[in-house]
């Protein structure tokens, strides 16, 4: 792949060196992405590399919290879940009442090392049971009754908080990267930001297509009109980022063994981008399939293993590369599931659930309180920690960003950082 003809420099340094080799800057700037030209003209230094990074891991479909963190001493748990409940002897003991699902062994090791924690029973008032709507609430950070057009990460970027990179592609790096097919609603913003979408899992093997698209973008022999030129220039900007990202990912040597599944490979690619020194602040990765309405035991077990082993490989990689102090990882899911199992040995849409945080120096392992299970059939859990308290903690303690501007009001932070 490396012998493919390259059409454009992919870094500022390379660009400058091309200029130095006598390729006229002005002649070139017609095609060159604006950020390269501008930063060359201004000769501005690249932004500092030391910065805090957040990796969001979405567990799409609604993760079953009660089979993730198991209240193994609670008779109500086994009353509500006679067939799918995790047996006391199978749970990995966290304390005298709570244990982890056996698939979460790798995460448990991280907790013992002080590198991961659990925030229990996280939700919001007046919970909504629709995937679409509840995801929207989590991603926009809105109240259940309110509709917000922007996401919480988008507003973080809009607010240009301390340490937030500039909006106009400082150094050409995207400010936020998602490894999902769709742009996450969390990233929706009022101002335009350079965001970038990386294909889930692989991302490799597309370089040839990308080079081909780039070739077509450059081939403007046919009669050009103003809109076509505008589209070409905008697309060129995006392609240069993509090409650089592909190069980084293709040449990455991880320091830990990532499992072969898409999720772990996505995390590997995130690690590659972090290790390359890109000034990106937020990454968004998604693991789907948590909508376990029927025969959930094996499915859920596999999903949790994928999650746990992927996260552990990622953290191990960051630690070996001495990047772990820069990166905080956090999971979320649109809702937990109904406390009682249904007739199909699965669980229906519920409300609150635990989420994981991971990084060096995470305090814990347990935060907040476990939910009460003194419930009749088809009743839901009552949350005890608002998800926006978690966001507030991340914004305030991790990003040093005034939280009220992003969340609309003040939420009490949690002591996990």
């Amino acid at each position: 792949m490396n012998n493919l003809h390259r059409f454009l420099p992919t870094t500022r340094r390379e660009f400058l060196s091309w200029g130095g080799r006598g390729i006229g800057l002005l002649a070139f700037s017609q095609f060159a992405p604006s950020f390269l030209v501008e930063s060359t003209l201004a000769a501005t230094p690249s932004p500092e590399k030391d910065r805090s990074i957040l990796v969001l891991v979405q567990l799409a479909g609604g993760n079953d919290g009660l089979n993730t963190v198991i209240p193994y001493e609670d008779a109500d748990y086994y009353r509500l879940r006679p067939t799918i409940g995790i047996k006391k002897e199978d749970a990995i003991r966290l304390d005298d009442t709570l244990g982890l699902h056996p698939s979460l062994a790798a995460l448990h090791t991280l907790m013992q090392d002080g590198r991961a924690g659990i925030i229990q029973n996280v939700g919001y008032p007046n919970p909504n049971h629709s995937h679409f709507r509840s995801s929207e609430i989590w991603e926009t950070g809105s109240d259940s009754e309110k509709f917000l057009p922007t996401g919480w990460i988008g507003r973080f970027l809009d607010n240009d908080c301390t340490g937030t990179p500039g909006t106009a592609g400082t150094g050409g790096d995207p400010v936020a990267v998602h490894v999902t097919n769709e742009l996450p609603q969390s990233f929706f913003a009022d101002k335009p930001h350079a965001t970038f979408g990386l294909r889930s899992g692989g991302g490799r093997g597309n370089r040839e297509n990308l080079a081909f698209l780039e070739k077509l973008v450059k081939d403007d022999d046919h009669e050009a009109n103003a809109n076509a030129s505008f589209l070409r220039a905008t697309m060129m900007d995006a392609l240069v980022t993509e090409q650089r990202v592909q190069k980084v990912i293709g040449g990455y040597r991880p320091e830990s063994a990532y499992p072969g599944n898409n999720f772990a490979q996505s995390l590997r690619n995130v690690a590659a981008l972090i290790a390359s020194g890109m000034s990106t602040r937020v990454y968004f990765v998604s693991l789907g399939g948590f909508d376990t309405h029927s025969n959930q035991v094996n499915n859920h077990s596999n999903l949790l293993r994928t999650l746990s082993e992927g996260l552990a490989a990622f953290q191990q990689d960051l630690v070996s590369k001495k990047l772990d102090s820069q990166v905080l990882t956090m999971t979320f899911s649109e809702f937990g599931r109904r406390p009682n199992e249904n007739e199909s040995r699965g669980t229906d849409h519920g409300t609150a659930a635990p989420l994981f945080v991971m990084g060096s120096g995470i305090k814990g392992p347990l935060h907040g309180t476990a939910p009460s299970l003194k419930l009749e059939k088809n009743r839901d859990l009552s949350f005890s920690t608002d998800f926006r308290q978690v966001y507030a903690t991340v914004l305030d303690k991790w990003f040093a960003c005034p939280t009220t501007q992003v969340l609309g009001k003040t939420y009490e932070p949690l002591p996990f950082i």
Binding site: G61, G62, R133, L183, T195, L216, N227, T234, D291, H293
Partner: protein, 498 residues
């Protein structure tokens, strides 16, 4: 390209000698979503005038009321009653929440049904026209907060959108969605609200600069008493100011309808909708008033007949002028529906791959950014929206991974398939058929000449041909190659244009 037409010649019909395949494609892409080969053949066979008569029929096909909208209309009074009589605050909140959720679901149902309906070639031109009118007579679900009314509003535009404009404007002034959107129901005899009167002059009939603040104040008094009762327009005579008003230099005890008639008496009304058509269908760069004036005068003399205007505009030398070929940026809904048509697909039956995709591309259906609607043009394009467009193409060329769908989505998929709607992505067998029945040159021509609206250069063509024929040792590789070529061509800057 210089616009070398005289204002007199501009609106004359395209000479028959210039009615050819390129012109036919231009017509279909601009009045609808795409230029599908059978449609191109058909309009060429029928001729331009007859084709326009068919594409813009006196009576447009109506989008059937989506089932969840019908359910919402039916249940809402009972819900309202229950909410009113709820015993505790908690019960009330639960009911309100349910009601909001039903609105949301009905909205998704509406958008998906609308996309499916619009993607049919026979509805493309009238649905785009309805979209055009909804960009003039703007309402937003954001404020209206009643998706059944938003549906009714668009239904009204569909039913009366090819009749006389004054009649349409009068109906719009009684549309529940509009009454709520522009605060007419809060306009009282002693406290007239100027919102509707202002937008009537500025955005529906005349355009900025053709009225005074005093005209608005006086006109607002004529629209007092417009109310809603049981989801329908109702005129409350007690709240209506029936005293004399002076609007556009004439004085009388005008009603709302009188004011609308007065506005259409002004010469500016003739040029307003033509100006909007140019902006929506032809070019971001506005035509000089010298061009618009003769069309405006003529349109006024037709009694502001919208159908006649459409027929004249879309058959004119101006519309077909080379200066306007292949240089208009597709709005997100056209990019989406154009792909669906170009690839003979069905609209995916769940929000993630329809509603959400449109939103990511910058067009949130039924939620325009403000009273002016969408600005459009280059504002549709930035690195994020362009990325969303490219992603949509990728999605369409990869099989639906049903394991990653949630249960709601899987149900929607099953239901759609039961109705015979099942082609949401380009599957291998279709690519295989293409490979077996067409030569490399034919495939290249299909991609470049059917999909792209601009004449492409020989070097571009040979780039595509080379890419298509590289590494084709096995059947699988040939299919993968074909898929990659199609994806890249549809992601190219040229395909964003029409």
């Amino acid at each position: 390209m210089k616009l070398d037409l005289s204002p007199q010649a501009a609106w004359q019909p395209l000479p028959t000698s210039q009615w050819n395949e390129d012109a036919a494609r231009h017509l279909l892409r601009r009045v609808g979503w795409a230029a599908q080969p059978p449609e191109v053949d058909r309009v060429l066979k029928d001729g331009l005038a007859a084709s326009l008569e068919r594409l813009f029929p006196a009576k447009a096909n109506l989008l059937p009321k989506p089932p969840l909208i019908a359910r919402l209309e039916e249940d809402t009074p009972a819900y309202a009653q229950k909410i009113r009589t709820a015993e505790t605050r908690e019960q009330k909140q639960v009911l309100q929440r349910e009601q909001r959720e039903r609105q949301q679901q009905a909205m998704q149902n509406l958008v998906i049904n609308w996309l499916q309906f619009s993607s049919r070639p026979e509805n493309a031109a009238t649905e785009k026209w309805t979209l055009f009118l909804s960009d003039i007579y703007v309402v937003s679900q954001e404020k209206v907060n009643n998706i059944a009314w938003v549906f009714q509003h668009h239904d009204l535009l569909r039913q009366h959108g090819l009749g006389p404009a004054p009649a349409l404007t009068k109906l719009v002034s009684r549309s529940p969605a509009m009454i709520r959107f522009l605060d007419l129901q809060d306009s009282r005899k002693n406290a007239p609200n100027e919102n509707f009167a202002r937008e009537l002059f500025e955005l529906f009939v005349l355009g900025e600069g053709n009225y005074s603040e005093q005209d608005i104040k006086e006109a607002a008094r004529a629209f007092t008493g417009y109310r809603l009762r049981k989801d329908e327009f109702y005129f409350d005579a007690k709240q209506h100011d029936d005293t004399a008003k002076t609007v556009f230099t004439k004085t009388g005890a005008f009603t709302g309808d009188d004011i609308i008639n007065r506005a259409y008496e002004l010469p500016a009304a003739g040029c307003f909708v033509p100006h909007e058509i140019v902006k929506f269908y032809l070019s971001e760069d506005m035509l000089s008033p010298d061009y618009l004036a003769p069309l405006g005068d003529w349109w006024r003399d037709t009694g502001y007949d919208l159908r006649k205007l459409a027929l004249r505009f879309f058959s004119s030398q101006m519309f077909f002028h080379p200066a306007f070929r292949g240089n208009f940026i597709k709005r997100p809904s056209q990019f989406y529906l154009g792909l669906v048509q170009d690839l003979n697909l069905n609209v995916a039956p769940y929000p993630r791959h329809s509603l959400n995709t449109l939103r990511l591309m910058g067009e949130e259906t039924f939620r325009p950014p403000n009273v002016r609607g969408w600005v459009g043009g280059r504002l549709w394009i930035n690195s994020g929206t362009l990325n969303a467009r490219r992603q949509l193409v990728e999605t369409i060329f990869n099989p639906v991974n049903e394991e990653t769908l949630n249960a709601d989505e899987q149900r929607a998929l099953v239901a759609a398939r039961a109705e015979g709607i099942g082609t949401f992505t380009v599957e291998d067998d279709r690519l295989e058929t293409m490979l077996q029945s067409m030569s490399t040159d034919q495939i290249t021509a299909r991609f470049l000449d059917y999909f792209l609206p601009v004449k492409i250069s020989e070097s571009y063509r040979s780039d595509v041909r080379d890419f298509l024929t590289r590494d084709t040792a096995t059947e699988d590789k040939r299919i993968a190659r074909l898929r990659a070529t199609a994806v890249v061509v549809l992601q190219s800057p040229e395909y964003q244009l029409c």
